[in-house]
């Protein structure tokens, strides 16, 4: 109001009274003036009302913003970070597996997958079809449908795998055309590969896709977090037993992604710990040789270094290619393995329960001597058969006319059955069970693979719980020659004979020699946990008597293994065994030609050399092949020859750094 008077051209001031005056003065007619006046008044009120509403709206906006940005700030900040920050597991590199000479047995090789990130800009179906044609992916309509389904149900921002295992040619032709498919990428990762295929499958085992069972097991052990992002896990053999060592520790990487899941940058990186490299005790050359000499025969060979318990070879024939399982075995292939009459999936060295037959006679001698049931030179007349008192049942000797006068040495050399029928009868099942337990029958050998059956170390309790029948005296007699209820795995037999060869020092057979940390290059050797004095006898010389008997088997004039070991350049010891698979009726003769193939005898042979300081002990089982001394002994001989004369002729455990490893059939493998 002050300005108005001073400045003539001043703009109207914001004042109601003045306004009224103005309008009153400007009006031409009194009535219209009044009407206009009322109109202006209402107008002003309405404007004020609208200002009120506007302020109210702004207040609402402010209150909401205050709520979002100040009160809920923490919550939304977290959600914003969750939006953009993804924690991606970084899978550790699985440890390599080498043989004792550093030959690679299990390798990690890069494989390439074709991954598509479905995107609205590109039609999924056309893209897949184009790529299928371009790269010859061989996808049929069913696969296509499956992929389309997957693309719709996938998690937001995750890709779908159009193809895994791209060939180099496919990668090359994709990279030429990749500009046309900006949402398709080739992703590389490492897959397990076993260069020796079926040679050492039962020992090394394999890795395969993690399934629900594995997930349950891992989560029960609280290890599931460590498998975030991993796709494979050890399923068999060493791969399974040393899974924890091989797998390593999963790392993580914090990445920033945009709303399409594209990685913008890495915020932090927590490196994974690579799995440990394993050096096995196996010599792949010996392993290969075992496969070679077994040929088509069903059976298994175990070679061990008795002093240390290191398994030099463990081969079960027939075997199979573990790479099939890594790739993801097809149903047909798996059915073929399952239905194969040779049962390749079974590890005959640790899972096959066989009657150990005569191979266990030296072990029973240890019992007889320690229990003072026999003396080394005590005479025994070997009848054609053994009869229990007051019984007509004849336990026949393998030689229809008997062996005549026997002492312990000759009884072993010639493998006289009646001597051991008598010994078993006099010892009784309780004593036998006790000693067999000490030798490791009927329980785990402690070998570092999980595929092991326990065999049967028979006892009164065992028969009662198994057959609900009391133990008969007649049940004890065949135990003396390793038959009857007694079953054993080849590995148990190996362990028991190792104890004998070591003169009472028990060694756990094992496949792991050392685990090496690939980053720090720290080596951890396998620790033998067996107590050195776990097997005690009252006189150490008992061992020598039994070992001498085994020496005669190979070197004596009547020895069952003398032909097989004729002309050997080392002094060996051994014991043959021929196990009946079906019982022969009283008064009938065993005739292999009359029996079905699967009912023929199993051939066994255990031997070690050199005699005084054994460096290798070999056990062989051949299913349904007949006599142990004729079939199994030559194979044991070949194994020992190969090891002592060819592979390590100078006596030391291999060259320090061999450049090449000779395999059978003239092949060589270049070492790393």
């Amino acid at each position: 109001m002050f300005g108005k008077k001073r400045h003539s051209h001043d703009r109207p001031l914001f004042s109601e009274k003045k306004k009224k005056k103005n309008f009153q003065n400007s009006g031409s007619d009194d009535n219209s003036n009044r009407a206009e006046d009322a109109g202006v008044l209402i107008f002003r009120r309405r404007v004020y009302f609208c200002i009120g509403v506007a302020l109210f709206m702004i207040a609402i906006l402010f209150a909401n913003l205050y709520y979002l940005q100040i009160i809920s700030y923490k919550d939304y900040q977290t959600r914003s970070n969750e939006n953009r920050i993804k924690i991606v597991p970084v899978v550790p590199t699985r440890g390599m597996i080498y043989d004792r000479n550093h030959v690679v047995l299990a390798d990690n090789v890069p494989v390439y997958h074709l991954v598509m990130y479905p995107n609205k800009q590109y039609d999924t179906k056309t893209t897949i079809n184009d790529l299928n044609e371009l790269l010859n992916l061989g996808l049929n309509d069913h696969d296509l449908e499956h992929l389309l389904y997957e693309s719709k149900t996938r998690k937001r921002f995750s890709g779908i795998e159009i193809s895994n295992f791209l060939s180099e040619q496919q990668i090359a032709s994709f990279s030429v055309h990749s500009y046309r498919y900006p949402n398709v990428h080739v992703v590389a990762n490492l897959k397990r590969s076993y260069p020796f295929a079926d040679i050492a499958t039962h020992a090394i085992g394999y890795v395969s896709r993690i399934n629900q069972k594995d997930i349950d097991a891992l989560s029960a052990q609280g290890k599931l977090d460590n498998y975030e992002g991993s796709t494979e896990i050890g399923k068999l053999g060493v791969e399974k037993y040393y899974e924890d060592l091989l797998h390593g520790k999963t790392g993580s990487s914090e990445i920033e992604v945009n709303s399409h899941g594209q990685v913008i940058r890495t915020l932090s990186f927590n490196a994974p710990e690579s799995g440990k490299d394993l050096i096995l005790t196996i010599d792949i050359r010996l392993q290969y040789y075992a496969q070679e000499i077994l040929g088509d025969m069903k059976g298994a060979i175990v070679a061990i270094e008795p002093a240390s318990g290191e398994i030099l070879a463990m081969y079960s024939n027939p075997s199979y290619d573990p790479n099939l399982f890594v790739r993801g075995i097809r149903t047909k292939e798996y059915a073929r393995l399952l239905n194969n009459p040779g049962h390749p999936l079974i590890n005959r060295a640790t899972q096959g329960g066989y009657a150990p037959a005569s191979t266990v006679k030296p072990l029973l001698c240890v019992m007889g001597l320690n229990e003072k049931l026999i003396t080394p030179l005590g005479s025994f007349f070997g009848h054609p058969y053994f009869k229990l008192p007051n019984s007509t049942h004849k336990f026949r000797d393998w030689r229809a006319w008997g062996h005549g006068w026997l002492d312990l040495y000759r009884a072993l050399e010639i493998s006289a059955d009646t001597y051991f029928y008598d010994l078993a009868y006099r010892a009784g099942i309780n004593k036998i069970h006790e000693y067999l337990d000490d030798f490791g029958f009927g329980k785990s050998t402690g070998i570092d693979i999980k595929e092991e059956s326990l065999g049967i170390n028979p006892s009164r309790d065992w028969k009662m719980s198994r057959f609900k029948q009391p133990w008969h005296l007649g049940d004890t007699v065949p135990i003396g020659i390793g038959q009857g209820y007694w079953t054993s795995t080849l590995m148990q037999l190996v362990k028991a004979h190792t104890t004998l060869a070591n003169k009472g020092i028990v060694r756990t057979p094992h496949l792991l020699k050392a685990a090496i940390d690939p980053v720090e290059n720290k080596r951890e050797n396998y620790i033998q946990e067996e107590d050195e004095n776990s097997f005690k006898v009252s006189d150490k010389s008992y061992w020598d008597h039994c070992r001498l008997g085994m020496y005669l088997v190979v070197n004596g004039p009547e020895g069952t293994g003398r032909r097989a070991f004729y002309g050997a350049q080392y002094k060996a010891a051994g014991k043959s065994g021929t196990a009946q698979v079906v019982s022969i009726k009283q008064g009938e003769k065993y005739d292999a030609s009359k029996l079905k193939a699967e009912h023929r005898d199993n051939a066994l042979f255990v031997s070690y050399a050199p005699f005084f300081k054994p460096r290798i002990l070999v056990a062989v089982i051949l299913e349904n092949e007949g006599g142990g001394s004729t079939k199994a002994a030559p194979i044991a001989r070949k194994m020992i020859d190969k090891y002592l004369l060819d592979l390590y002729p100078n006596g030391y455990m291999g060259e320090k750094n061999p450049k090449f490893v000779k395999l059978g059939m003239g092949g060589t493998v270049e070492l790393q």
């Binding site: 400007s26 107008f43 404007v47």
Partner: protein, 383 residues
């Protein structure tokens, strides 16, 4: 009287007065112009970030804004009586174009909104953002105020016709804005509270009918989504959730210009147009919001001042309607982006990218300037 003002400006006076008179002569309102320029300047920063640091986009927007300002100045030169004269024809043209759109319109995002004239694509519904208040203001100011019931009915019919035509496109957002701008005009003119009460009751009764017969599924979905965004986090609710996360994570001071992870990593839908406020709120926080609101309040305040000082009922109604429709735009956009209103395609005035909306607004402000600067000053000089 203007001449006398010219004369007085020739006399020795303070430079301030001279300048003021110069712009007054050229029909430019300095405070309003400054306010608009401040908001546009502010917009360029937000837009640069929201467009993913797209300098081309920025240049295009600056060009369009420049053209829009030239248009605004041009409109400001036109005396208000000219708008009164052409308002009826504009209204008729708009209705014809809307019908043409209904018959021949281009379909974009499921709605017919564009009319392709071969050399030009126009959005007739946009015209009504200006023409609607104008027509109502012209019609009601012809007779005494407050309006008589008959006139009120006619005014509502005038508002109703384009609203329904736009609804048919279907474009709920624009239809609402047109209806609201018309309603504000009638309200300011002095709509009887009885009418308002009756209307409210009528709308309340009509809502269920609308829901069942008029609203499209996608529009219903938007309402559902608004009520509970988490019910459909990967579908329709995704935008609202992401937008709220962007705003909420901004906090008091924001993540910093160009540092908004939600905006920069594509989590926001249409960050440079409808959802630009989320970018602003994420990167500059509550402080940024307050700055924006301050600028807006300045513009609104100036417009209210002009409205209150307008010298004819036509001017008052038109200015008031423009002003409060502008407030309504702001409220709808920010409310939608911050999750208290359904998602309707309404850009943030003066900030969002886009030429059409900018031109509509500058035309409105041009008319406001024209009204303010074409007043017969003699009214106030007589005393």
């Amino acid at each position: 009287m203007e001449q006398s003002q010219n004369k007085s400006s020739l006399e020795p006076m303070s430079s301030n007065e001279q300048k003021g008179s110069f712009f007054f002569v050229h029909h430019i309102d300095i405070p309003l112009l400054l306010g608009l320029m401040a908001s546009l300047f502010f917009s360029l920063f937000v837009l640069y970030s929201a467009s993913g640091q797209h300098i081309d986009m920025l240049v295009r927007q600056v060009t369009r804004t420049g053209l829009a300002f030239v248009l605004m100045i041009f409109v400001a030169q036109i005396p208000p009586r000219f708008f009164v004269k052409i308002s009826f024809w504009l209204y008729l043209l708009g209705i014809i174009l809307l019908i043409l759109v209904e018959l021949f319109g281009d379909i974009s995002k499921g709605a017919q909104r564009w009319l392709n004239l071969g050399f030009l694509r126009i959005q007739p519904s946009e015209i009504f953002k200006v023409v609607m208040p104008l027509t109502v203001a012209v019609f009601l100011s012809r007779s005494t105020l407050p309006p008589k019931p008959v006139n009120t009915l006619i005014a509502f019919t005038l508002v109703g016709i384009p609203t329904v035509l736009v609804l048919l496109q279907p474009d709920l957002g624009t239809a609402t804005l047109i209806a609201v701008s018309g309603f504000i005009a009638i309200f300011i003119a002095g709509l009887s509270w009885w009418w308002i009460a009756a209307g409210t009751a009528l709308v309340g009764a009509a809502l269920p009918v609308m829901w069942n017969f008029v609203l499209h599924d996608y529009q219903k979905q938007r309402v559902f989504t608004l009520l509970d965004p988490s019910s459909d986090p990967l579908g329709a609710g995704y935008h609202i959730i992401q937008s709220k996360i962007a705003i909420g994570s901004g906090g008091l001071f924001g993540k910093g210009w160009l540092q908004g992870s939600q905006s920069q990593l594509d989590f926001l839908p249409e960050p440079h147009t409808d959802f630009i406020f989320a970018v602003l709120a994420e990167e500059t926080g509550l402080v940024g919001f307050l700055i924006l609101i301050t600028i807006y309040c300045f513009i609104i305040g100036r417009c209210i001042y002009i409205t209150l000082n307008a010298n004819s009922s036509f001017s008052r109604i038109l200015c008031g309607a423009f002003t409060f429709t502008f407030v309504f735009y702001i409220f709808v956009n920010i409310g939608m982006v911050s999750g208290i209103l359904p998602v309707v395609g309404v850009p943030l005035p003066l900030i969002s990218y886009g030429g059409t909306a900018m031109i509509t607004l500058t035309v409105c402000f041009g008319i406001i300037m024209s009204i303010h600067t074409h007043k017969k000053i003699s009214y106030f000089r007589k005393n």
